[in-house]
């Protein structure tokens, strides 16, 4: 579904992505992990067309994304730090995005209701706490029933109850066959969600394997342990 071919990106001297090759299939739930500054967010932003790679090609459903925007109709994106126009209210932001996406299909209001967004529609984005902003981001990501979900640190800043609601929602999307790309530093939180692991370091892909195989290979019982095991073995740590 998403194919990343030989993608490189440099920010000044920093090599954020280094000849990255990667294929993601429908129905997978992929955890993108790696140390800070290893290029996770750059990779995500490249897929969304926010960062333009220096080299290489990204192919979405068989079509290059270079001169296309319609593929973004299929993506729900939740940024790490949601930045919204400060004077707009939550209601206005939702209206704006609904207006931009052609609203043919019924919107998914589940998170909207569970996070009680309706009670805060008049609040300005400027006045929101980090957690509430994350809730708005989450609602927007799931609102249009996207086939691909890209979640950058989705639970960071959310209170435990909201994080649980979001996690359930991610699991539901997984059952519906969405491709989910998720980054998180909380490995044990990913444990029961993800089916594949992508490990990046200094812009390179170190590891891409399914969780089951990984555990089998290393003989460990959790994702965190098996990754540490593997990295030690390969001399990366």
């Amino acid at each position: 579904m998403i194919e990343i071919k030989n993608v490189s990106k440099k920010f000044g001297k920093l090599q954020a992505l280094d000849k990255l090759n990667l294929t993601l299939q429908q129905g997978e739930c992929v955890a993108l992990i790696g140390p800070n500054g290893c290029g996770k967010t750059t990779l995500i932003k490249s897929i969304l067309g926010m960062v333009l790679p220096d080299e290489g090609e990204i192919i979405f459903n068989g079509k290059s994304i270079k001169h296309d925007i319609n593929y973004r109709n299929e993506i729900g994106y939740m940024p790490q730090i949601g930045r919204y126009p400060e004077n707009m209210t939550i209601g206005q932001v939702l209206e704006l995005i609904k207006g931009i996406r052609d609203g043919h299909q019924e919107t998914d209001k589940e998170l909207y209701e569970q996070f009680l967004i309706a009670t805060m529609l008049e609040k300005k984005m400027r006045t929101l706490s980090g957690g509430t902003t994350q809730k708005v981001s989450a609602v927007l990501a799931f609102l249009f029933r996207p086939k691909v979900l890209i979640l950058d640190e989705p639970t960071a800043g959310l209170d435990p109850i909201a994080a649980l609601i979001l996690k359930d929602k991610i699991l539901k999307a997984k059952e519906q066959g969405c491709l989910i790309l998720i980054t998180s530093h909380l490995l044990n939180e990913l444990e029961d969600i993800v089916s594949e692991i992508l490990f990046m370091q200094e812009g390179k892909l170190i590891l891409h394997d399914s969780v089951d195989r990984l555990k089998e290979l290393t003989g460990e019982d959790s994702i965190a342990r098996s990754i540490v095991h593997l990295l030690k073995e390969n001399g990366h740590v």
């Binding site: 920010f11 919204y84 400060e86 931009i100």
Partner: protein, 255 residues
């Protein structure tokens, strides 16, 4: 496009600074005509407002607005919206509100007090200058990621076009006054939109006679239909070129 433009326009119209600007310009314009006993003097005051205040406000407000829209841009870019739609909507929204504020505040008294042809020329000059300086603001805000730097570039560009350029032309004029450089000066004036507008309006005000030989050359060139067409073409270029460059840069920018 229209949905994005609608949000931009609504946001700008809600901005209190734009309202204050409109009121201030209106106050200046009405008092310029009401306090002077002769319309020609009032028009000269108006001309100074058009040539100095309008571009300054236009360029500063737009630069700051573009920087403050970074969140808005970031929000839209991850959705199926073309980058040039976002940038154009911002540009059109800002241009419309600048021109709107100018016409409401300054255009009405000018039409009431001045004769129609002169008034029209002044209104067109003021409107075009507003848009040109919005375009220049877009260029300077895409040139620097840092807000203070961008605003600095805007102010420097305004200073250059509004004050320095004039000084340079005058300096050249004095240095080479022994040579027939009038035609050269006509060409030179095209390099600054403010000077171009100043000449166009001054010729209408019939004070060009006071500008001596140069005035005559100006009248020969800018007074004719062809000259007028050329100068408006140049003014449009002053919108298209800075905006075009900024759009190209924006399309290739990492957000």
């Amino acid at each position: 496009m229209f949905k994005v433009l609608k949000y931009v326009a609504l946001d700008i119209f809600r901005n209190k600074i734009i309202i204050a600007y409109t009121l201030m310009l209106a106050l200046f314009s009405w008092s310029a005509f009401a306090l002077e006993d002769n319309v020609a003097k009032g028009l000269l005051t108006e001309l100074n407002i058009i040539l100095l205040t309008v571009p300054l406000f236009s360029v500063l407000f737009s630069t700051i607005y573009v920087y403050n829209s970074s969140e808005f841009i970031e929000l839209l870019v991850s959705h199926p919206v073309k980058r040039n739609v976002i940038w154009t909507a911002l540009f059109v929204g800002l241009s419309l509100s600048m021109v709107g504020a100018f016409i409401i505040s300054t255009g009405i008294p000018i039409i009431i007090f001045a004769d129609f042809a002169t008034g029209l020329m002044m209104i067109v000059a003021g409107s075009v200058l507003s848009v040109i300086f919005v375009a220049i603001a877009f260029l300077s805000s895409i040139m620097a990621r840092d807000k203070a730097k961008g605003i600095g570039i805007s102010i420097i560009l305004w200073l250059y076009f509004a004050l320095l350029f004039d000084g340079l032309v005058l300096f050249l004029f004095l240095q080479f006054s022994d040579y027939p450089i009038e035609k050269f000066v006509v060409m030179l004036s095209a390099l600054s939109p403010i000077d171009l507008c100043r000449i166009l309006v001054l010729l209408r005000l019939d004070v060009s006679a006071m500008m001596g030989m140069t005035g005559a050359v100006f009248k020969d060139f800018f007074g004719t239909g062809g000259g007028l067409a050329v100068s408006f073409l140049l003014l449009l270029m002053w919108i298209a070129v800075p905006y075009g460059i900024s759009l190209r840069k924006f399309k290739h920018r990492d957000l």
